[in-house]
């Protein structure tokens, strides 16, 4: 694979040159706070590459928390009264700088839902395709990173167009796709790294993987009956602490549920989609008032069954989790997906 060597001294310069073709998005840390998120990088802003996993995942780049889908007017004097019209969108090229491999891999899992043989969600897909993912390998994984257990990892290139590997004075840019190569050209980075770079990256990858201390196993979940797990007695204790906020689902890079609403102000209206969460009672309430998931236990069970069982049964391609550790770090009451996964994997129904 082609590897370009980017001198750190030319990092800011290259980013600046690429702005002629791309809008830049990258991790930004809030001053004096332990929170960070992916934001558009305005003029002179550089991505904060020390951030490991941003507080909120970068899924909002493709799937904003709230997004206008359509517009309408209720003004009867207008010809297009009560007709939905498409909303102008900007899908010009953008480069996501410094996204971590597990976050890029998360887009591939979410894509299974939004881009199917039967239906292509134009909002998600168009935004996704506008992105070039310039990822940054994780040299020093933190203690909550269990990405190798979920078929990604600190140097995984599966969701990326370029993988940057940081060395002392340079970034080694491994070109993964043509999109990636186009970005590097736009940035004016073209010095190919010399011999031995593949081994250097390989060694760094191995070193990073050995630093991973966290893991999960789900090898036995696939063969278990859905109803055995669904009716298992551990959900009561597992869900006790949960306060049913939406934090885990909102920070998660693979949670994709949303709600669609029409908002009218005066005679102008918009149809929007906004993140929703299976943790909220409102998520499933029927117009009759009946709620099929009316209890906390049912909602907690749904979240973990979807991620760790239903998804695996449906797509036969692992679990709906990339091991970023965000839900563990952010949960106000310390519900830990690793413990729940272990309980599910080891569960045997009473005979």
């Amino acid at each position: 694979m082609k590897v370009i060597k980017i001198d750190k001294k030319d990092w800011a310069g290259g980013l600046e040159r690429s702005r002629n073709t791309y809008k830049l998005i990258g991790p930004v840390k809030e001053k004096d706070k332990d929170i960070s998120s992916f934001k558009p990088l305005g003029k002179d802003m550089l991505p904060d590459l020390d951030v490991m996993a941003t507080s909120v995942s970068p899924k909002s780049i493709v799937f904003p928390q709230e997004e206008v889908m359509l517009t309408y007017t209720t003004d009867e004097s207008k010809e297009d009264c009560n007709l939905f019209k498409s909303h102008d969108k900007d899908y010009s090229p953008r480069a996501v700088i410094g996204i971590r491999p597990f976050d890029a891999a998360a887009f591939l899992l979410v894509k299974k839902n939004f881009d199917t043989p039967d239906y292509r969600d134009p909002y998600w897909c168009d935004a996704y395709e506008a992105c070039t993912f310039i990822g940054l390998a994780i040299n020093n994984p933190d203690s909550l990173d269990f990405s190798p257990s979920t078929k990604t990892g600190p140097f995984d290139t599966s969701g990326l167009d370029v993988l940057l590997v940081e060395t002392e004075d340079s970034y080694l840019a491994q070109v993964v796709t043509e999109k990636g190569e186009a970005y590097l050209n736009a940035a004016g980075w073209e010095n190919e790294a010399g011999n031995g770079v593949d081994k250097q990256i390989g060694d760094m990858k191995k070193a990073a993987e050995t630093k991973i201390t966290s893991s999960i196993s789900y090898d036995k979940i696939k063969s278990k009956e859905i109803l055995d797990l669904y009716n298992a007695d551990f959900w009561d204790q597992a869900s006790f602490a949960c306060i049913n906020c939406g934090t885990c689902t909102y920070v998660c890079p693979t949670c994709w549920c949303f709600d669609i609403q029409d908002e009218t102000r005066g005679k102008k209206g918009i149809r929007t989609k906004a993140w929703d969460s299976c943790m909220f009672p409102l998520f499933t309430i029927h117009t009759t008032g009946h709620n099929p998931r009316g209890t906390k236990l049912q909602r907690v069970r749904q979240r973990f069954m979807h991620k760790l069982k239903y998804f695996m049964d449906k797509y036969d391609d692992g679990i709906m989790c990339v091991g970023c550790g965000r839900c563990i770090r952010s949960c106000p009451v310390n519900i830990d997906i690793r413990s729940i996964c272990e309980t599910m994997n080891n569960y045997e129904p009473a005979k």
Partner: protein
């Protein structure tokens, strides 16, 4: 406070063995630094999992709402005041509860400690008045008193106000604290400064409702933000909707908030939501001499009317 553990386990074991309660609610050791998980023990063999340290900031009264069982509950000062609220607001009865009181010396501010270090914290332990913070390449000892949650710094009810058991001698209450220092700072701001201050405060909000759901007072069967017929508040992160949520929630807390700090502790974005509730706490205290959750025999400030109630704030 580490010494409380044996006593907590002992009392809990006795209550469960003698079948005086169906369950005991406390904390178990968390899987990451500065976090413990609320935990219910339903039989004596589970009490070994109970822990107590300076990371038990979540208010356990939140887990009592509308329960039908008899319950043992571990309660520091603020939990006990929220339990009083629960009793006077008919969310649980006094007879259902055996309150295991824990005199408290304050909980540590995990947001503040996390933001101090650029690299990951892998372990936080405590030793008396010291907190030892470790990472892969550093170790630092901090004075616990300097890193308390903001609400704990100004707490004047560290001891449980209501209890059936007590795990240790009562601690001295803090006398020389300015409880309303933070509010006073905001009160003197100009209108524009206040507007900017609250906008900045709320700008990181992701509307996950962790603050609401961690709050022992937020037990409405359907919260106004979850109403859909009609829908009062938009679901997205529009600042107008975010402000509406926080402002209205704060008004629902008037005369009820005990400043337990659960909302701030729970917020994944570290927003000091107390900036709103603290003002209502101050007003209730100054106007009506009212402090929430101190007695099950008194009715709350906004529920009673006296002819000489102050009214000069009505314009």
């Amino acid at each position: 406070m580490l010494g409380y553990i044996d006593k907590i386990r002992g009392i809990s074991e006795k209550l469960l063995t003698e079948e005086k309660v169906d369950m005991v609610i406390g904390f178990k050791k968390g899987t990451i630094p500065m976090m413990n998980e609320p935990f219910v023990a339903r039989n004596a063999s589970e009490v070994k999992d109970f822990v107590w340290d300076s990371n038990c900031g979540i208010n356990l009264a939140n887990y009592l709402t509308d329960r039908k069982e008899t319950i043992g509950i571990i309660a520091k000062g603020c939990d006990s005041r929220s339990i009083v609220n629960h009793i006077i607001e008919n969310k649980i009865t006094r007879e259902q509860l055996i309150i295991i009181g824990v005199p408290c010396k304050g909980m540590i501010d995990h947001h503040e400690i996390s933001s101090m270090f650029d690299t990951e914290i892998t372990e936080v332990t405590e030793n008396g008045s010291d907190i030892i913070v470790k990472g892969t390449d550093f170790e630092e000892t901090l004075k616990k008193d300097s890193f308390l949650q903001k609400n704990c710094k100004v707490c004047v009810h560290r001891n449980p106000v209501i209890h059936d058991e007590l795990v240790a001698d009562m601690v001295d209450e803090q006398k020389d604290v300015d409880r309303f220092e933070e509010v006073n700072k905001i009160e003197v701001m100009s209108q524009e400064e206040k507007w900017n201050y609250f906008n900045d405060l709320l700008s990181p909000c992701i509307r996950c409702y962790a603050c609401r759901n961690a709050c022992p007072l937020c037990f409405c069967p359907t919260c106004f933000v979850d109403e859909s017929k009609p829908q009062w508040v938009g679901k997205g992160p529009d600042p107008v909707d975010t402000r509406t949520f926080h402002f209205l929630r704060a008004y629902h807390m008037v005369g009820r908030c005990t400043d337990c700090g659960s909302c701030v502790r729970a917020c994944p974005m570290g927003i000091d939501v107390r900036a709103f509730t603290k003002k209502s706490e101050k007003d209730c205290f100054e106007l009506y001499g009212w402090e929430a959750g101190l007695s099950i025999d008194k009715r709350p400030a906004l529920e009673t009317f006296k002819q000489n109630d102050p009214e000069d704030f009505i314009k």
